[in-house]
C-alpha cells in the first residue's frame, strides 16, 4: 500500500482518512438535517424564519439533562453512587420526554408569539422570532443551570464501544510490529507502576534506575503511538462508536416517520395543502390553526430528539447559547436544500455536514464555519431557490 497522501496547492488530501471523514460528515449532517427539517416545515406553512428553533433545540437538551438527573445521573447522585448503570430504556425515555417537551414548547411559542403576528408583515414576524430567541436565551441564563455549563454524565450512554471496519488493512508486518510494541509497552508500564508503588511518577524520591525505567516506558509508549499512526496512514477504514451508529439510524428512522406523517396521513395532507396555498386550504375547510400547531410540534419534536442525541452521544455541554450556532447552521442547510422543501432540508443538512468535514480534511479547519456560508452563497447564485427548491417567477 503506497502512501495515500497528496499535497496540492497547500491542501492536504489524505485519502486514507477519506472514508472516516465521510462517515464523520454523515453524522454531523444527520443532526443538521434533523434541525433543518424544523426550519423548513415552519417556513413551508408560514413563510416564517423561526429563529427561536435553535432555542427549542437548546431547551430539548436541558430536558434530556433533567431526565438523566432524575434517573440518578446528576453529579451529586453520581458522587454517592458512582456505578449507576444506564440502559436502553433510560435513553428511550430521555428521547421521548425531550421530544414531547419540545413539541409542547413549540406549540406554546407558536400560540403566544407567532399566531398574533400571522397577518402582519414578514419582517415583523421575524423580529418577533428574534425576540423569542433572545428571551429564551437570556431568561434561560437566569433560570437554568449554566454556570458551569452542565453536560450529561457519560455513564448515561451505555453504547461507547468502538466498531472498526477495515476496507484496506495495514501491511501485516506493521500490524505485527504494533502488537509487539504494544505488549512491550504494557509490560514496561506494569513494571514501572509496580516500582512506583503508589508514588507519583514525578516524585523526587525516585531512584535513577526507576527513572530510567520510566523513560523506557515512555519511549515504548511513544513507539506505540508512532506505529498507531503508521497503521492509520497505511490502512483505510472506519471507526465508529455504537452510540453514533444508533444516532444515525434513529435520525433516518425519524425522517422516515416524518415522511409517512406528511405523505400518508390526513394531517400531513392538510399540512401540504396549507404549505401549497394558505388561503385555498382554509377555504377547503382545513383548520389552518391546527395544522400550523401540528407543524410546529413536529419540527420541535425533531429538534428535541436531535438535542437529546447530541448531548448523550457526543457529551456536548449545555448552555443557553447552545442552540444558537447549530440553529444558524441548520437554517443555512435548510436554505441550501431549498427552504420549504422537506427532502431539500435533509439533502442540505447532509451536504453541509459533508462539506464542513471535507474542508477539515483538506486542512482548513479554521475556515470550517465560513465554508458553509460560501457554499450557500455560491449555490444560491447558481440556483436562487436552493438545490431542490423552485424559484418561481413572480406573477404580475
Amino acid at each position: 500500500m503506497e502512501n495515500l497522501l497528496y499535497v496540492w496547492a497547500g491542501l492536504e488530501f489524505n485519502f486514507s482518512t477519506l472514508p472516516q471523514q465521510l462517515v464523520n460528515g454523515l453524522i454531523t449532517g444527520a443532526i443538521y438535517a434533523l434541525i433543518a427539517l424544523g426550519y423548513t416545515m415552519v417556513y413551508g406553512v408560514l413563510r416564517l424564519i423561526n429563529f427561536a428553533h435553535g432555542e427549542v433545540f437548546m431547551l430539548g437538551g436541558y430536558v434530556a439533562l433533567f431526565v438523566s438527573w432524575g434517573f440518578g445521573f446528576s453529579p451529586e447522585a453520581l458522587q454517592k453512587n458512582p456505578d449507576a448503570q444506564s440502559s436502553a430504556l433510560i435513553l428511550v425515555i430521555m428521547i421521548l420526554v425531550a421530544m414531547a417537551a419540545c413539541a409542547l414548547i413549540g406549540a406554546i411559542i407558536e400560540y403566544f408569539a407567532y399566531r398574533p403576528m400571522r397577518n402582519q408583515s414578514r419582517i415583523a414576524a421575524l423580529i418577533t422570532a428574534i425576540g423569542v430567541s433572545l428571551f429564551l436565551q437570556y431568561a434561560g441564563q437566569i433560570f437554568l443551570p449554566n454556570s458551569p455549563p452542565p453536560s450529561i454524565a457519560q455513564q448515561v450512554n451505555p453504547y461507547q464501544e468502538n466498531l472498526k471496519f477495515d476496507l484496506i488493512s495495514a501491511p501485516k508486518e506493521t500490524r505485527d510490529a504494533y502488537t509487539a510494541a504494544k505488549t512491550e509497552s504494557d509490560n514496561l508500564k506494569q513494571q514501572f507502576e509496580t516500582a512506583l508503588n503508589g508514588r507519583s511518577q514525578f516524585d523526587d524520591t525516585l531512584t535513577d534506575a526507576e527513572k530510567a525505567l520510566g523513560t523506557q516506558a515512555q519511549e515504548a509508549q511513544n513507539k506505540v503511538s508512532a506505529l498507531e499512526g503508521e497503521i492509520a496512514q497505511k490502512s483505510v477504514g472506519v471507526t465508529i462508536t455504537v452510540g453514533k451508529l444508533i444516532m444515525l439510524v434513529t435520525v433516518i428512522v425519524l425522517m422516515l416517520i416524518l415522511r409517512f406523517l406528511v405523505m400518508a396521513t390526513p394531517a400531513g395532507r392538510a399540512m401540504r395543502a396549507v404549505s401549497h396555498d394558505f388561503e385555498s386550504a382554509s377555504l377547503m375547510g382545513i383548520n389552518v390553526n391546527k395544522v400550523i400547531t401540528f407543524t410546529f410540534m413536529l419540527g420541535s419534536a425533531l429538534a428535541g430528539a436531535g438535542a437529546m442525541m447530541l448531548v448523550t452521544f457526543e457529551g456536548t455541554a449545555i448552555h443557553p447559547f447552545f442552540g444558537l450556532q447549530l440553529g444558524v447552521k441548520a437554517f443555512v442547510a435548510a436554505v441550501l436544500g431549498g427552504i420549504g422543501n422537506i427532502p431539500g432540508a435533509v439533502l442540505g443538512g447532509f451536504l453541509m455536514g459533508l462539506a464542513e468535514t471535507l474542508v477539515v480534511w483538506a486542512g482548513y479547519s479554521n475556515y470550517k464555519d465560513a465554508v458553509a456560508f460560501v457554499i450557500l452563497i455560491v449555490v444560491l447564485l447558481l440556483k436562487p431557490g436552493g438545490i431542490l427548491g423552485s424559484s418561481k417567477v413572480e406573477k404580475v
Binding site: 489524505n14 486514507s16 482518512t17 472516516q20 471523514q21 464523520n24 460528515g25 453524522i27 454531523t28 443532526i31 453529579p75 453520581l78 458512582p82 437570556y138 441564563q141 449554566n146 454556570s147 458551569p148 455549563p149 452542565p150 453536560s151 454524565a153 457519560q154 455513564q155 461507547q160 468502538n162 472498526k164 507519583s200 514525578f202 523513560t215 515512555q218 509508549q221 511513544n222 503511538s225 508512532a226 498507531e228 499512526g229 503508521e230 492509520a232 496512514q233 471507526t239 462508536t241 453514533k244 447530541l310 457526543e314 457529551g315 456536548t316 455541554a317 448552555h319 447559547f321 444558537l324 450556532q325 447549530l326 468535514t357 477539515v360 480534511w361 479547519s365 479554521n366 470550517k368 464555519d369
Partner: protein, 408 residues
C-alpha cells in the same frame, strides 16, 4: 384610522418602567444572588456614612457566553470583600464592591468600565477574558485608575500600561512553555498535535506559545487543528490528527469543549495523553469528559488539596457561602484580584496613583493562586504553575514549575 397605537406603545414602556418600581418596593438584602457588600454594609449602615466607604469596581461577564467564568469571578470577589468587611474593613472604612456586567463583549465591557470610572471608585478589577480587559485597560489608563486583571493571560495586557495594569494570573508566555516543557521532559513526548479554539484569544495565544516552546525544545508539532467554541463535532479534526501519529495532544481551549473533544478522541481509538491549560479547570470536566479525560494533565494555579492556609481558608469560606467548590478557576482568581487591590489600598491609601504605586511594590502577597510579587515585573507576577492530573474525583498534583526554572 383613529388608532392610538402610538400612545399604546408609549404606555407599555411606562409599564415596563414600573417593573423597576416593583423591584424597589421590596429591596431585599442577603439571599443567594445579592452582592457581598449589601449583606455586610447594611448591618453597619447606621454608623458608616457614604464617605466612609471605599469603592472598588468589578467588571464581570454576568451575561453572555463567558458567564460561567464571569459569575465565578464575581462570587470570588464578593467573598473577598465580605471577608475584609467582616474583619472591620480598612481602618474602619468598609469596602464597597460595585459589580458591572460586561455582557461578555468588549464594547459593553468598556461602557461598564467607563461607568465605574465616572463614579468614585479607587480601582478597577476585571475581566476574565483578554479582549474585554484590553478595552477596560484603555479606560483605566485614561482615568488613571489601577486595574487588576483577573484571568486575562494575554501578554499584551500589561504592555504600555504606565505601571497601572496588573494581573493575578500568569501569562500565556509562561503557561504555554510550562506545558511544553512538561510534555517534552516529564512525559518524554516528541510529537505534539494541537487543537485550538479559534474563537478564544486565550486559546490562540496559548497554542502559539506552546508550539514555539515545544519546537525550541526539539519537539515536533505534527499538526494544528482549529475549532470554534460552540461547535459540537470535532471528529473531522481528530481524524486528521490521528493520521499524523502524535505522541501527545494539547487542547488549549476551555473545558466546555475539551470534554467532548476528549471523548471523541478516544472514540476514534487514539490513546495518547491529553494536555491543557488552566481553561480546563472545572468540576464539570470529568462529567463531560468521563473516562476519556482522566489521566490528562493541565496547568493550574492551585490545587484544592494543597495545605497552604490561603487555599483551605478560601475553599472553606466558599463552601459556607455558596456550597461546594468554585466551578472554574476564576473563583480563586477573582478572590485574589480583589484581595490584591485591597492590599494595595491598605498600603497606598485611597489615592489612585498611590494605590498603583503600592501595587507595583507588592512583594510576597500570599494569594490563593500562589505568591504574587509585582516589584519590577511590570504588572506580570512571576507565579508558580502547578501541573495537575485529572482524576475521577478531581485533580491530583503532578509537578510544580517555579517561574525561573521553565526557561532554562
Amino acid at each position: 384610522m383613529k388608532k392610538l397605537g402610538f400612545w399604546n406603545a408609549g404606555l407599555i414602556v411606562l409599564a415596563l418602567g414600573s417593573l423597576a418600581l416593583m423591584a424597589g418596593c421590596k429591596p431585599k438584602d442577603g439571599g443567594g444572588e445579592s452582592t457581598g457588600s449589601t449583606g455586610s454594609s447594611s448591618s453597619t449602615s447606621g454608623e458608616t456614612a457614604s464617605g466612609d466607604k471605599i469603592n472598588i469596581g468589578l467588571i464581570a461577564s454576568i451575561n453572555g457566553d463567558l458567564r460561567p467564568w464571569g459569575s465565578d469571578c464575581r462570587d470570588g470577589a464578593m467573598l473577598a470583600v465580605e471577608e475584609i468587611n467582616a474583619a472591620g474593613g480598612i481602618d474602619g472604612k468598609m469596602i464597597n464592591l460595585i459589580v458591572e456586567d460586561s455582557n461578555s463583549k468588549p464594547e459593553d465591557g468598556k461602557t461598564a468600565a467607563q461607568k465605574l470610572a465616572s463614579s468614585d471608585v479607587v480601582g478597577l478589577v476585571g475581566e476574565v477574558a483578554s479582549g474585554i480587559t484590553m478595552q477596560i485597560k484603555s479606560v483605566a489608563l485614561e482615568a488613571g485608575l489601577p486595574l487588576v486583571a483577573v484571568g486575562a493571560t494575554n501578554p499584551d495586557i500589561t504592555k504600555n500600561s504606565d505601571g497601572k495594569v496588573f494581573r493575578v494570573c500568569y501569562t500565556d508566555d509562561f503557561q504555554g512553555p510550562v506545558m511544553a516543557k512538561f510534555a517534552f521532559q516529564a512525559l518524554g513526548k516528541k510529537r505534539a498535535a494541537i487543537m485550538t479554539d479559534n474563537k478564544q484569544p486565550y486559546s490562540q495565544e496559548l497554542s502559539k506559545k506552546f508550539m514555539a516552546f515545544f519546537k525550541s525544545l526539539g519537539g515536533e508539532i505534527v499538526t494544528e487543528e482549529f475549532y470554534e467554541s460552540g461547535q459540537n463535532q470535532f471528529t473531522g479534526q481528530i481524524t486528521n490528527i490521528k493520521s499524523k501519529a502524535p505522541d501527545v495532544i494539547f487542547l488549549s481551549g476551555y473545558f466546555t469543549e475539551v470534554g467532548p473533544i476528549a471523548r471523541q478522541i478516544r472514540q476514534q481509538g487514539l490513546n495518547v495523553p491529553l494536555l491543557g491549560g488552566d481553561g480546563w479547570d472545572s468540576k464539570e470536566l470529568v462529567t463531560s469528559g468521563g473516562d476519556a479525560i482522566i489521566g490528562g494533565y493541565f496547568c493550574n494555579h492551585y490545587n484544592n488539596k494543597e495545605d497552604r492556609p490561603e487555599v483551605q481558608n478560601f475553599l472553606t469560606k466558599w463552601n459556607e457561602k455558596y456550597g461546594g467548590e468554585p466551578a472554574t478557576t476564576m473563583g480563586a482568581l477573582g478572590y485574589d484580584a480583589v484581595m490584591l487591590m485591597i492590599d494595595g489600598i491598605k498600603r497606598g491609601g485611597t489615592d489612585k496613583a498611590k494605590i498603583a504605586e503600592a501595587l507595583n511594590n507588592t512583594e510576597g502577597f500570599a494569594g490563593v493562586s500562589g505568591v504574587i510579587n509585582l516589584k519590577d515585573h511590570n504588572g506580570d507576577p512571576p507565579k508558580r504553575a502547578l501541573v495537575v492530573e485529572v482524576t475521577q474525583d478531581g485533580q491530583k498534583f503532578a509537578k510544580a514549575y517555579e517561574p525561573d526554572e521553565v526557561f532554562n
